[in-house]
Structures are given as C-alpha cells and as structure tokens.
C-alpha cells in the first residue's frame, strides 16, 4: 500500500478550493454519523436496563423488554449460520482448491455469487416467502427466516472465506504439493488452520450482515414477538422489532432506540471479536 500525500508545494486559488471542498466533504460525511450515533446513545441509553434485555415486550413494546425478540434473533442467526458456514465454506474450498482457477465453472460461480450479492434483500424476502414458507411448507417461521438470510449472506461469506483461504502462502501449498500430501490432508490440516482467523472474521461479518437485515425477514420469520416454542414458530428479530416500534407503536421511539442500541452493540461485537481471535492466533501462522 503505497500511500502518498500531496504536499503543499504551491498555493493557488484552485488548491485552496480543492482543500476546502475536501474538508467540507469530510464534514458532510461525518455529520450524519454523529447525529445518528448521538441520537442512538442519548435516546437509546435512557430506556436501556438489564431488565430490558430479558423482559417480554408489553403494550406492543412500549413497555417491558426484548427478551423473546433476542431469543428469536439468536435462533434465526443460528439457523442462518448452520447453513451458511458449512455450505459456504465447502463452496469456497471447491472454488479455491478444487475447481480449475479461471476455468468456466469458477467464472460462472463467481458471476452467480456477484449477482446474488446484488439481489435486493426484499426480493430475497419474496423468494424466501414463496419457496421456504409456501413451497416447502415451513410457514412463516424462524426456520424459513434463517434459511432466507442464509441465501442472502452466502455470497459475502463465500467471498470472504475465499479471501481467507487465499492468505495461505503459495510456498506452503507448494510444500504440500511437493510432499504429495493428499488434497484433503493438505486442506484439513494445513490450509484450514492457517485460514482459520480469516474464516472466523468471515463468519463474524456474515453474522453482522444477517443481524442488520430487516426486509428479507418481514415475510419469512414474521412479526410475532412472543417467545418461540420451536423453529417452526414465527419469531420477531431485533431489526423487525425496531421497524415495528418506530412505524406502528405510538410512543415506541424510546424502546426502538434502545433496541437499536442493543443491535448496534451486537453488530460491533460480532464483527470485532474475530479481530481479537486473529490477534491471539497470529503467532501460530506462517511468517509471510
């Protein structure tokens, strides 16, 4: 990463203009962030308490907490990860280790993943409703929601996992090749352990993406804010709860902000934890 600054060599009017424009743009970029985060902290923190995390919502969410919503969220995410991680990892391994690089299959799958990544989440929600809820008979349920989310985060997870697999240095691969190790020995014992921190991070980011999603779940895992009794019950996730409170519940803004604060904290921690793991495992990785 060669990063170069342009040093002030001459001062012309146009230079001043460019620099002013840059500063203005930076401010314009950070102001909404400041406003949103400020609102989030100020309005969210006032309604937040430990009790809020465990109580059931009452009066449509104006009072009580988000206990069942948290549980539903965890279950939907669990279903999502249970599908995404094995399938996505297998796909990444297939793309990176088995299919011929730059071959027709790899190119086709890449295009398909790009297209899938570009699909609006509401369209995926429609698909999930049509396919999982109706065609497969799961109904509006946590299972259907989790599977829909899995479709949504799959391209992201596959791409990040591929990147993680590619961090395995070429000379380590060459060593495995020269020793004529079986492909699966090389992958299971050498490639995956080296890529593990990256795979962790990929999981964290995929989870963050799934946690943030609302539109794909509106029609698939539903609005019901009760404690789900099984994976085939509907369940309301945090993001949908925020949507419902802010749109449909007079006086629901406070709890909506509190829920948003919880959601953002969760997001930051799932995308931050893998970074810590990576720090711990660095000393084991191959010096590159």
């Amino acid at each position: 990463m060669t990063e170069a600054r342009i040093h002030r060599s001459t001062t012309s009017k146009s230079d001043v203009a460019v620099q002013t424009a840059s500063w203005l743009a930076l401010v314009a970029l950070l102001v909404p962030l400041g406003l949103i985060v400020g609102d989030l902290l100020m309005r969210g923190a006032t309604s937040l308490s430990p009790q809020f995390l465990v109580d059931s919502p009452s009066k449509a969410g104006r009072e009580g907490g988000i206990g069942p919503v948290l549980l539903s969220t965890l279950l939907v995410m669990g279903v999502c990860l249970l599908v995404v991680v094995p399938l996505g990892l297998a796909a990444a391994i297939g793309l990176n280790e088995y299919l011929r690089r730059g071959g027709f299959a790899v190119r086709t799958v890449r295009i398909a993943l790009d297209v899938l990544a570009g699909t609006p989440s509401i369209a995926l929600g429609m698909f999930g409703y049509a396919f999982f809820c109706i065609a497969l008979g799961m109904g509006v349920s946590i299972l259907a929601g989790g599977l829909t989310l899995a479709c949504m985060v799959m391209p992201l997870y596959v791409r990040l996992s591929e990147q993680a697999l590619r961090t395995v240095p070429d000379d380590v691969r060459a060593a495995a090749d020269a020793l004529a190790l079986r492909r699966y020995t090389a992958i299971l014992r050498i490639v995956l352990p080296v890529a593990a921190p990256g795979l962790f991070a990929a999981t964290g980011l995929a989870l963050a993406r799934a946690l943030a999603e609302t539109a794909a779940l509106l029609f698939t895992s539903g609005y019901v804010s009760r404690t789900p009794g099984s994976l085939l019950d509907p369940g309301r996730v945090l993001a949908v709860h925020i949507f419902d409170l802010s749109m449909n519940v007079p006086g629901g803004d406070g709890p909506a902000y509190a829920t948003a604060l919880v959601l953002v904290a969760l997001l930051l921690s799932v995308s931050g934890v893998p970074r810590l793991v990576r720090g711990f495992t660095r000393r084991w990785s191959h010096p590159v």
Partner: protein
C-alpha cells in the same frame, strides 16, 4: 579422481568422495530427453537432454531466468499445477516414464523429493512437519513414525537442536533450521531422488554451509540434483554439472559433464566464458 578441487576438499573433509564407486561408473538414473517446456507465450526450455547418474550430485547452473528451476519442477511434475504450462519430451526415472498420463503423482513425488529456495515448513509443529506427511503416506505405526522422525532429524543434524521442543511451531526455527527440517521431512518419505532448488540462496553463509555439507552427506544414498547460480557451490558439491543458457528466447543445454571437466576443460566457448566469470 576427485571431482572437487583441493580447496573444497579441505573444507569438506568428510565428503566420502574417494570411495564412491557409482560416480566412476555412473549409471543413468534420471534421463531427460528432448524436453521442451512452454508457458503461454514463452518457451522456457527447448530440446534439453541430460542423463543424471545414480547416487551422484548433479548441479544445474546458468544465469538467472535460464529455466533451471523449470527443469527441476518438471521432474516431479510440479508444473502440472501451473496453468498454461505445456511440457513435451520425456523424463524417465529408473527407466519409467514420468510425464505420462497414468503416472501416480503421489508415488512419483515420494520417490522424487523437492526442496525449495525459501524454506517452507508447513504451519505446524516441528514434529508434525515430519509426522503429517508420514501419516498421509500410510505410515500407520506410531512407533515407526516416531523412530523415523528421530532418524531423519539426526540425519539433518537437527535432533540435538530441537529434541526439547518438538511441539513448538516450525516457524520459530531459524531459516537454516527450517530448511533442514524441510530436507528431513523429505528424507522421511524415503525418496530416491532429491531435487534442490537453490536451497541456500535465502540463507546466511553459515546456514548455507551446513546445508552444503548435508548435501554432500546425501551422496551415494540418494540421487541429488541441485540448481544453483553459485558456481563455487556447484564446484564444491557436484559430481556432474549441466550448464543451461538462454539463447534466442529459450533455454537449452550448453554442456553437460563431470564438474571438473566443465570447470577446467570446457568444450564450449560459452561455458568457459561463464565459468570464467566473463559473462552471465
């Protein structure tokens, strides 16, 4: 009689050169015939033929970019993994064709080990670097593996240095130690031929000397091919030397023969210029 000069002999007094019958009456073990290697747009090697004798150390020298490494990589088919690499001609190992379609690559690579320029231990512990390949190749006995581990580490002179920390990551070893570990894990698979691809060029002089001595100790028991751009090294360790040169956009063999002949009485003008340090 000796293929190395006196200065080198003084440096490596334990080289069992004098007693080596095979080099006096060398039998060809690895036979490269009319080998042409093309990458997408370029020709790396053109019509190269060399007969590499059994139990000897054969050096391949030449200026950089003359296809020395390519030649090595063809021998144990590492070029298979390179997209757009087209290999023609024949490489025979103990009379059997290596380049054919039905060749068992696993068996070939076990019989023909390859040591890389940069030490590349697997990102595992020191012991696992030897044990994992053994397990993968079907050495099922735990005791057997342990004894092989100890034997090969002794053989590369690493045992005393690492016996106390066999479970430490291989990455914690020094560069020279890592390279010896790579050689050890290669020896563990009982190869017949060992290919060295500039094994010392990434190491400091002391570590390089240890590796050189090690290569000398491998003579007779293994057929060794070493690619090097270091002429003095070739002169010190090799029984035979091949000179490759890039001419008209592709490399070909200039001269091949006993090291002494190559360095003292080359038949080709280009060779004498190269070994004399005039060109290259």
């Amino acid at each position: 009689m000796s293929q190395i000069d006196n200065r080198a002999r003084a440096l490596l007094p334990w080289c069992p050169m004098e007693k080596t019958a095979p080099c006096c009456t060398p039998r060809t073990y690895l036979e490269v015939t009319d080998l042409t290697v093309k990458y997408k747009n370029t020709t790396a090697l053109r019509h190269v033929s060399i007969e590499i004798p059994r139990g000897c150390v054969t050096a391949i020298v030449g200026p950089s970019g003359c296809g020395k490494s390519t030649l090595l990589h063809v021998i144990n088919r590492m070029t298979d993994a390179v997209a757009g690499c087209d290999v023609r001609g024949s490489v025979r190992l103990a009379g059997a064709e290596v380049l054919g379609k039905g060749v068992d690559l696993r068996m070939l690579r076990r019989r023909v080990g390859l040591i890389f320029q940069r030490p590349n231990p697997l990102p595992l512990s020191i012991a696992e670097n030897v044990l994992l390949p053994l397990r993968d190749h079907g050495f099922t006995g735990r005791e057997e593996r342990a004894s092989i581990l100890e034997r090969v580490l002794h053989e590369v002179g690493l045992w005393d240095e690492v016996a106390q920390r066999l479970n430490a990551p291989a990455a914690t070893l020094s560069g020279g130690q890592q390279q010896r570990l790579c050689i050890a894990r290669c020896l563990a698979l009982l190869p017949e031929v060992i290919l060295f691809d500039e094994p010392c060029s990434a190491l400091d002089p002391i570590a390089a000397e240890i590796i050189e001595q090690l290569i000398c100790r491998l003579r007779n028991r293994y057929t060794v091919v070493i690619v090097t751009h270091n002429l003095a090294q070739a002169r010190r360790v090799a029984d035979f030397t091949a000179v490759l040169w890039n001419r008209e956009g592709a490399s070909s063999l200039v001269e091949f023969g006993k090291t002494r002949h190559i360095f003292e009485r080359p038949t080709q003008g280009l060779t004498s210029l190269y070994v004399g340090g005039v060109t290259g």
